[in-house]
């Protein structure tokens, strides 16, 4: 609750910061302060300090699971803001507004990770989505950005419509929006419930860009200003996943056997499409878009398995994936040429950037010693321990191997190919931050115990 209130208020503060100050440094400072504050109050809440006494009427539900996720999301955003905050100025003039939107999105993130009724789920998802439509289109003069924004908007609101219909049908059948009430009962499927379930599944798949509802993702990620693609591909996606998992776990967990197969097929399709298509991309940005689809496939494992390993793993995955992706994007933003060739010879010009990027990519590929490995490990373990979906595990493993192909293309370009890497202005602070992030990735990979302890605290 702390985080929800503070993020909403700070969003307003950010809105006005642009009016009272034209100095971007001040604005960025305010935003960073806000993010730090968010992390702080969230940690306070994890330790039982509630700043606001609000009667929630059971609309929201806070446990350490979603609080921990919030911390990770805010932390990632903090890293993101330090790394790429300066690049927002290149997109447009209203930096304060971008930050305000990001804070509102974070409010949505906090809501959609802690919803306890479908109403809050809907609100959370929408509070996340609507500012994103805007962020996607912030590069007003750029047709690609416009187009991405329109596409995202149309697809997003379409899926919202589906979701609402699903919610309504569930409501019609169960008489409540409350997750506990919905999950009551024998778990039998009436036509109305199954239709609602399917619609919810579709719409959530839309939001997390799982195949076959992924088709907007590459275009949107590609068209959006890279700074915001980074944000979209990480924090938003993670939050949508948490919501997805909580919905299908808390509300429909009883019916798991009924929908497991469908979700498994969706997962397999996501993995295959994401990975195979990513192989054929020429632009790194687009490749990352497809790779995010592929990663979504892995996160779906948590849903397929629906056990504690999966839940823990999803949190771990979001952390690992977010940090690595933010890092790669932070480097990508600095580049002028987004093709693979653009990375040629980067290792010579910018050894630090190249090395850290390589570590991030290794993490995304799931090489042991990086956080990405532990994440994938958890997901595979969850699916294996579920026992019914070994075929999916094998598909996942093969896809992970495919993913190596395109992640390593970047590494190859950076290290093994000759080329005049582009001129970039990179401050030493930026480099230092990248190194810190790479260190986080590696430390999480080698000593995941820290995060695991937190995870174990509530499982």
């Amino acid at each position: 609750m702390n985080a929800i209130v503070i993020s909403a208020i700070w969003g307003v503060v950010m809105m006005f910061s642009g009016i009272f100050s034209k100095n971007n440094t001040v604005i960025r400072g305010t935003a960073l302060t806000g993010l730090a504050l968010l992390i702080l109050v969230n940690i306070l809440e994890m330790n039982g300090v509630l700043l606001f006494k609000v009667n929630l009427h059971g609309m929201l539900y806070f446990d350490s699971f979603n609080l921990l996720f919030n911390t990770i999301a805010f932390g990632s955003t903090f890293l993101y803001a330090i790394l790429s905050g300066r690049d927002m100025e290149k997109v447009g003039r209203s930096v304060s507004d971008y930050f305000a939107l990001i804070f509102f999105i974070l409010c949505g993130v906090a809501i959609s990770s802690s919803f306890n009724t479908l109403l809050m789920l809907f609100l959370g998802i929408e509070i996340m989505s609507i500012p994103l439509y805007i962020l996607t289109g912030t590069d007003k003069r750029n047709l690609k950005s416009n187009e991405a924004s329109l596409k995202y908007f149309l697809m997003g609101s379409f899926s919202t419509g589906l979701m609402l219909m699903g919610i309504t049908l569930i409501y019609g059948a169960k008489g409540s929006f409350n997750l506990e009430t919905i999950s009551l009962g024998t778990g039998a499927l009436t036509p109305m419930v199954s239709a609602g379930l399917l619609l919810l599944l579709f719409s959530m798949s839309f939001k997390v860009s799982a195949a076959p509802f992924h088709f907007w993702t590459p275009d949107v990620y590609d068209g959006a200003p890279t700074v915001f693609t980074s944000f979209m591909a990480t924090i938003i996606k993670s939050a949508a996943f948490i919501a997805f998992l909580r919905l299908f776990d808390d509300a429909f967990g009883e019916m798991h056997p009924h929908w497991q197969l469908v979700v498994s097929i969706v997962t397999a399709a996501t993995l295959l499409i994401g990975n195979i298509t990513a192989v054929f991309q020429q632009s790194v940005k687009r490749m990352l878009a497809y790779s995010s689809i592929a990663q979504a496939g892995f996160m779906m494992f948590a849903l397929v398995a629906l056990n504690n390993l999966g839940r823990q793993g999803l949190i771990f995955y979001t952390a690992a994936y977010s940090v690595a992706t933010i890092g790669v994007f932070a480097v990508l933003i600095k580049m002028k040429d987004y093709t693979f060739e653009g990375f040629n010879g980067l290792a010579k010009r910018q050894p630090v950037l190249a090395a850290t990027t390589a570590i991030f990519l290794l993490s995304l590929a799931g090489i042991p010693g990086t956080a990405g490995f532990m994440a994938k490990f958890y997901m595979l373990a969850a699916a294996v321990s579920n026992g019914h979906v070994m075929w999916l595990v094998i598909v996942g493993v093969l896809c992970a191997a495919i993913s190596v192909y395109y992640y390593f293309r970047v590494i190859q370009a950076m290290y093994f190919k000759e080329g005049d890497a582009q001129e970039m202005e990179v401050s030493s602070i930026f480099k230092a931050l990248l190194v810190i992030m790479a260190a986080i990735v590696v430390l999480l990979g080698l000593f995941p115990q820290w995060l695991l302890d937190k995870l174990n605290y509530f499982f």
């Binding site: 090489i367 294996v384 094998i394 493993v397 190859q412 695991l452």
Partner: protein, 489 residues
């Protein structure tokens, strides 16, 4: 203590090497580090050979039931020794080669040594997997940065192959982990895992594919000749001398004892694959004009033999495998060193373009002949001991009903191997010199030193293998006991 040192010394010195400047300094640094490692390894074998020194266990991921558990048993001793010996040899032998960005090159070399050590030492499946990949990644970077013209594509193929294999293995590990009684990754727990024979069956293949790709066994071998050909020779030495042993080692420690029933059931299938691979590789080797490819294919044949021996197993066979793993490493490194020396001077590896080198470089020729003869397992060389044990093991197999067939097929490959090896010696070293080979000079001191050491090792083991056999006997017994106890009566 010893195992930790074996891993940490190369690891830290490797990381440090990234930041060193100056080619000479880096070379010295790397050599120093590997020599220390060798020393530690030898100490472990002799003075400090006490149980307390050979095992270390530290909490790592208690939640997952994984520990940083490393230890040396007989088999590990042998392979660690091989690793420890191989690297200084390689560094000395390639002392005169110069590499672009030498500090990175040596750093990756040292890291891969750390990975290899870890693989041979790990007593925890997750840790094993970690090191398995840690050994792979530096090799990938080494090959694709300092290799031949087609290096990037070829190395990538190698990497993807291995990676697919290791991911499959990961699935297997996870499955086993979830079926251990105490949810742990420890080797001991893995032995206790309760599995039906069906489960064992397919987990077997998950593991086996990973190891088979590494060795490589017949249908999974296609990466190997290309990679050996394209890699810088120093890396090829690591790959073929040490890294392929990871596959065999994996089978011996993680596959056969853990999944005895499946191993028993699938033994013939695997052996058949090995036989096909051996004959096929030998036949291809005979056609090769490229020295590196020739040795590469011969390596496939030799590895196939060892793999076959594990699966149609007996006491002698396993004993043979253990010793042969070491021997093959030594021999093939020797072969590569010779190739490297030739290539560095002649700038070609084509057999057809060479000839008469013995006149110009007699020292090299003598060394090569010894190493090559060892490679074809002539008596009095080390490989003879190993292959003899292997063959007798296979021939007397209690597991396979057709062990003698396999043995016969293996025998054919020995003959073939003799044919192409001798043919190669004949064409490269004897006959008339041509314009190219006329300029050949004999080998320098450091190279002579390395080859000399290798030759000595070859001959010593060939004559007096007993210490080795005693060293590995314990491991053989352990493995066999696991396998036989779990065999259905």
């Amino acid at each position: 203590m010893i195992p930790v040192l074996l891993i940490v010394i190369p690891l830290l010195s490797g990381l440090a090497a990234f930041f060193l400047k100056g080619e000479k300094g880096v070379k010295t640094w790397a050599l120093l580090s590997t020599v220390i490692t060798l020393a530690v390894s030898l100490l472990g074998l002799t003075v400090l050979n006490k149980a307390a020194n050979l095992h270390t266990e530290v909490e790592w991921l208690p939640l997952l039931g994984s520990k940083f558990s490393v230890g040396l048993d007989g088999m590990g001793q042998v392979l660690c020794l091989l690793t420890a010996v191989a690297f200084p040899m390689i560094f000395v032998a390639t002392w005169n080669s110069s590499y672009k960005n030498a500090h990175n090159f040596y750093a990756f070399m040292l890291l891969s040594q750390a990975g290899l050590m870890g693989v041979f030492l790990a007593y925890d499946a997750l840790l094993f997997y970690f090191f398995w990949e840690l050994a792979l990644i530096p090799a990938y970077f080494l090959c694709s940065q300092w290799g031949g013209e087609k290096r990037i594509a070829v190395t990538f193929k190698f990497f993807i192959y291995t990676f697919i294999g290791s991911l499959l293995m990961l699935v297997g590990i996870i499955y086993l982990y979830l079926h251990t009684p105490d949810q742990s990754f420890a080797l001991e727990s893995f032995y206790k895992a309760v599995l039906t024979s069906k489960e064992q069956g397919w987990i077997f293949w998950l593991f086996f594919i990973a190891f088979a790709i590494k060795m490589p066994v017949f249908p999974f071998h296609t990466w190997q000749p290309d990679t050996y050909e394209q890699s810088p020779t120093a890396v090829t030495m690591v790959l073929s001398g040490v890294m392929v042993k990871m596959g065999l080692f994996g089978v011996l420690r993680w596959l056969a004892p853990v999944l005895p029933m499946a191993t028993w059931l699938n033994g013939d299938t695997v052996a058949l694959l090995c036989v096909i691979g051996m004959i096929y590789a030998s036949l291809i080797a005979m056609q090769q004009d490229d020295l590196k490819r020739l040795i590469a294919y011969s390596s496939i044949a030799h590895m196939g033999l060892m793999c076959m021996a594990i699966f149609v197993t007996s006491d002698q066979g396993l004993q043979g495998v253990m010793i042969q793993m070491f021997n093959h490493g030594i021999n093939i490194i020797g072969m590569w060193i010779v190739v490297e020396l030739i290539e560095r001077q002649m700038h070609t590896r084509k057999i057809s373009e060479l000839g008469g080198l013995a006149q110009k470089a007699p020292g090299l020729a003598i060394m090569l002949v010894v190493v090559a003869l060892a490679n074809v397992a002539l008596p009095l060389t080390n490989a003879f001991i190993g292959e003899f044990l292997l063959f007798s093991g296979v021939f007397n197999s209690t597991v396979s009903k057709v062990g003698y067939v396999f043995a016969a097929a293996g025998g054919v490959t020995i003959i073939l191997s003799a044919v192409y090896t001798l043919n190669m010696i004949q064409r490269v070293f004897f006959g008339n010199t041509n314009t190219l080979t006329g300029a050949m000079r004999d080998i320098k001191f450091n190279e002579r030193f390395v080859l000399g050491v290798l030759v000595i090792v070859i001959l010593v083991i060939g004559v007096y293998p007993r210490p080795f056999l005693e060293l590995t006997q314990g491991s053989v017994d352990t493995i066999l006991s696991r396998m036989i106890i779990k065999h259905p009566s």
